[in-house]
Symmetry: C2
């Protein structure tokens, strides 16, 4: 069994209204030293062992998980023991 | 300037309907070897240098960013150069 951790963030320069909202809320709570906030998604997949796991993960991201126009993604694959 | 990367995931055992939906959609696309999906949030903060940054980040998470009843969070702090 493999665990794939995918981090999806807005591309540089793409407007991130959720991040802006978080920054405004933090500022209202007194955390005004936070100068920039970016929000993204974290997806953990537990998959059976593949031969070509890199290609499969890229396919999943391009077809469903990420929006390649507006988002960048990075992923890590690690071996895990699960029952 | 410091960059704080916060990973927020549902606690073990908490229902994750979004993760379930992603798994169902992946399965419909032919990725039926994905056995479990967990979704979470990734937040990057760029903050001025604090003395007590660990305490401040935990305060931000507990008060706004994470729901401590249902979610676990982890964070990393790194030094970055930004203009």
């Amino acid at each position: 069994m493999k665990k794939v951790t995918i981090r999806i963030m807005p591309k540089q320069g793409v407007l991130d209204p959720q991040g802006k909202a978080v920054q405004t809320s933090l500022s209202a709570l007194g955390f005004s030293d936070v100068k920039e906030v970016q929000t993204g998604k974290l997806i953990e997949l537990f998959v059976e062992d593949y031969q070509n796991i890199d290609q499969r993960v890229r396919d999943m991201c391009d077809k469903l998980l990420a929006n390649p126009v507006m988002e960048d993604y990075h992923y890590e694959v690690e071996e895990v023991a699960r029952t």
